[in-house]
């Protein structure tokens, strides 16, 4: 258990869209700033659009070593993505698909972003089975950034945080990250030899 105490939790934030004018970038930064304030947590903001991942390869062939190492080190991930016609961005799926073992028994929380009233809720519902297949453990709190065009000012600062409950979302994510770290490192599948 000593290693658990010494090692901070690693919880990177992944921004999963490349579109110009993306409001998700502001949402990702807002969650990243909140994570940074928490003691015992290391975080970084990863822009999926800047990862050197080829679009015509998959899996190991498309793997970016730096991103894979970050996912290996992670105890949890926060995915921030907009809802495009009820779905998640293809870029996010492509990036996630480049790893597998690195995700297993790690926590995942999703921040949905939309210009409309649902705050990416339908995107999140579609993303959940993907995360499950990747071995990630999803939490039951989401952040639904609805009406995104009025929640941030011209510089991208969050000026209306009503009903977002980012604190509750992060509390649950951190609890799951700590619990799963213990399980990964201490509890053997199938029981003791």
């Amino acid at each position: 258990m000593a290693a658990d105490v010494v090692r901070p939790l690693s919880i990177p934030v992944i921004l999963g869209t490349q579109r110009t004018g993306r409001m998700s970038e502001h949402a990702a930064r807002a969650v990243y700033v909140e994570l940074e304030k928490r003691p015992g947590i290391e975080t970084e903001l990863i822009d999926a659009a800047t990862l050197p991942i080829p679009s015509d390869e998959a899996g190991e062939a498309a793997k970016d070593p730096a991103f894979a190492e970050t996912m290996n080190r992670a105890d949890a991930i926060v995915l921030v993505a907009p809802e495009y016609n009820r779905g998640y961005p293809g870029l996010l799926k492509h990036v996630l698909d480049t790893n597998l073992a690195e995700y297993i028994h790690k926590a995942a929380g999703v921040v949905g972003v939309s210009a409309g009233i649902f705050g990416g809720a339908r995107m999140i519902e579609n993303l959940l089975p993907v995360l499950r297949e990747l071995g990630l453990v999803t939490i039951f709190w989401d952040v639904n950034v609805n009406n995104a065009r009025t929640r941030f000012d011209e510089t991208g600062v969050l000026v209306d945080d009503s009903f977002l409950a980012v604190g509750k979302f992060l509390d649950e994510l951190v609890w799951m990250a700590e619990t799963l770290r213990h399980g990964r490192e201490q509890i053997t599948i199938g029981g003791p030899a």
Binding site: E60, N72, D75, L100, H105, R184, E185, Q186, T188, G190
Partner: protein, 60 residues
């Protein structure tokens, strides 16, 4: 047969924490299983937290 692995980073005996089915990535892999995928054993290091995996030796 329980798979075992030493951490490639710090040498500590890793904890076998999961078995995961994944799709075959080559013709050889596809021909080596009747399961529709191969089973990988996933390990975590109790010292440094590193994750590593290998195909289960008893999967083929």
């Amino acid at each position: 047969m329980r798979p075992e692995l030493a951490c490639p980073r710090c040498g500590t005996a890793m904890n076998h924490q999961a078995d995961k089915l994944r799709e075959p990535t080559s013709r050889e892999e596809a021909q080596s299983t009747r399961r529709g995928g191969v089973v990988i054993a996933v390990f975590a290091c109790p010292n440094c937290g590193w994750i590593a995996s290998l195909r289960r030796p008893d999967d083929a």
